[in-house]
């Protein structure tokens, strides 16, 4: 059962789209409240993050997204 839980959880990966949000910085994914507000609980499950069209000037707060595979920081200036 534990193995089954691990397998299911390992496939519970997420894509987050934060485009066009007028963000001035990348959200702090170490903050559980912020995590929950985006509908997920574990930054290690995030495999895709899109941040198109924001006002972000510095790339930071990505350290916990260790399994991130696709990152779009397009037109964030």
């Amino acid at each position: 059962m534990k193995l089954l839980y691990i397998i299911i959880n390992s496939y519970n990966i997420m894509s987050i789209n934060l485009s066009n949000k007028n963000l001035t910085e990348i959200p702090d994914f170490s903050d559980s409240k912020i995590l929950n507000s985006y509908g997920f609980d574990d930054p290690r499950k995030v495999y895709s993050l899109e941040l198109w069209n924001n006002q972000i000037s510095k790339i930071k707060n990505l350290d916990l997204l260790v399994n991130l595979k696709y990152l779009s920081l397009v037109e964030i200036k």
Binding site: N20, I59, L62, L65, K69, Y70, L71, E75
Partner: protein, 161 residues
């Protein structure tokens, strides 16, 4: 970006990046999109040994008049031609990347997103409202007919409206 060792694709286009740096830890990166920035030199890519696609169009690096030429860059097609382009655009640094297959390639999804991004801006500027089903219908049409052809059609519709 030191912890992003599993990153496969990184899109940083449309910003004001002047220097390529801070990518050393992205050893598994396969696609890097840097077009529409202010990059004047190709550098600091040595550790990206798994890089297969890089796009560096529309930077200071390239003369705008040469974009149509640079768009055809493909190191698998014509070695002599690529040698010429490497010299012309000072792309010598890229020759050391063992898995690089395409330079200045843009995949269809990126084109599609870019198009809808532009469309969205246009709507805001002109205060026009498109119904969601129209957008989806056009997106489907784009996928069926081919991205470039459909984009042209959509623009025609926009200007007619």
């Amino acid at each position: 970006m030191d912890s992003l060792v599993n990153l496969l694709s990184l899109s940083l286009w449309g910003n004001e990046i002047e220097i390529i740096e801070g990518l050393n830890s992205l050893v598994n990166l396969r696609e890097l999109y840097l077009y529409k920035n202010n990059i004047s030199k190709i550098e600091n890519l040595e550790s990206l040994v798994n890089l297969q696609i890089i796009n560096i169009m529309e930077n200071i690096l390239f003369n705008p008049d040469d974009l149509c030429i640079s768009d055809r860059l493909d190191i698998n097609e014509d070695e002599d031609y690529n040698e010429y382009l490497y010299d012309k655009y000072n792309l010598i640094k890229l020759k050391d990347l063992p898995n690089l297959k395409k330079i200045n390639d843009i995949d269809d999804d990126v084109k599609l997103k870019a198009f809808f991004n532009e469309l969205s801006k246009k709507q805001l500027c002109e205060n026009q409202t498109y119904q969601l089903h129209e957008i989806r219908e056009r997106e489907l049409k784009m996928r069926l007919l081919g991205i470039q052809k459909a984009i042209t059609e959509c623009y025609k519709h926009i200007y007619q409206d």
